[in-house]
Symmetry: C2
Subunit: 137 residues, 2 copies
């Protein structure tokens, strides 16, 4: 197990570009990156897990600013565990709201698709309150 990784290695392992990793670090998202004799970045194996976690936060729509706040708390150690839990809990609620909104929009999309299906089936345009008359042939 290679404990120390170069930026190129961790880029490959986490699917990020080298540029993105440097940018993340500049934004304060990656605490604990050290340097070798030649001022090159040295990552630890644990950073792979951290970056995957950041990826999850990102996929759930967390902003870079919020991730930075979370990283700053994490860098301050165990004393901030409660705050981090609260942050994630608030974020989870936002995610639940997003999922609900997406599900609702999805439902309405299905209604529209059903409208087109009925049109194709019957050969006659069913009533639809959404398409302006000038968009109908």
């Amino acid at each position: 197990m290679v404990e120390h990784l170069s930026i190129g290695e961790i880029a490959r392992e986490t699917g990020r570009s080298i540029h993105a990793l440097r940018w993340y670090e500049a934004q304060g998202l990656i605490p604990g990156v050290t340097r070798d004799g030649g001022r090159r970045r040295v990552y630890r194996q644990a950073h792979v897990g951290w970056l995957r976690f950041l990826g999850r936060l990102k996929r759930t729509g967390m902003s870079v600013g919020d991730m930075k706040a979370y990283a700053a708390l994490a860098a301050r150690g165990g004393a901030t565990a409660g705050e981090r839990e609260a942050m994630l809990t608030r974020h989870l609620e936002r995610v639940d709201g997003e999922i609900a909104a997406l599900a609702e929009a999805r439902r309405l999309l299905e209604v529209k698709i059903a409208f087109y299906a009925e049109w194709g089936r019957s050969g006659r345009r069913p009533p639809d309150p959404e398409i302006p008359p000038e968009l109908r042939s």
Copy 2:
């Protein structure tokens, strides 16, 4: 029922800014907007429904480019109904993928929250493969 609306009125009814409406139109998202004697935009009541529909497409992550393509099909009339149905069906599949990805990320978020809850309950940090050692106090 007021059939004709000014840009200010439709902005109020649809929750868009006047600027955004003009920009949408410039992007080709709002076919069928006419002008009055003074070159002012005239919207029809049906445009309210159309804008709400665009809002749903947007909330599900559809790009302006795809909305433009959809609007162009709609403007060509009933002959394109099949293509529109296909577009929406493909988009619905993308939305399902998004919802699934969000649900999965949400699940992992819950695992992390449970980790913090256990930490708080036991007073001892449970094992966690994601936080780099230098982020632990």
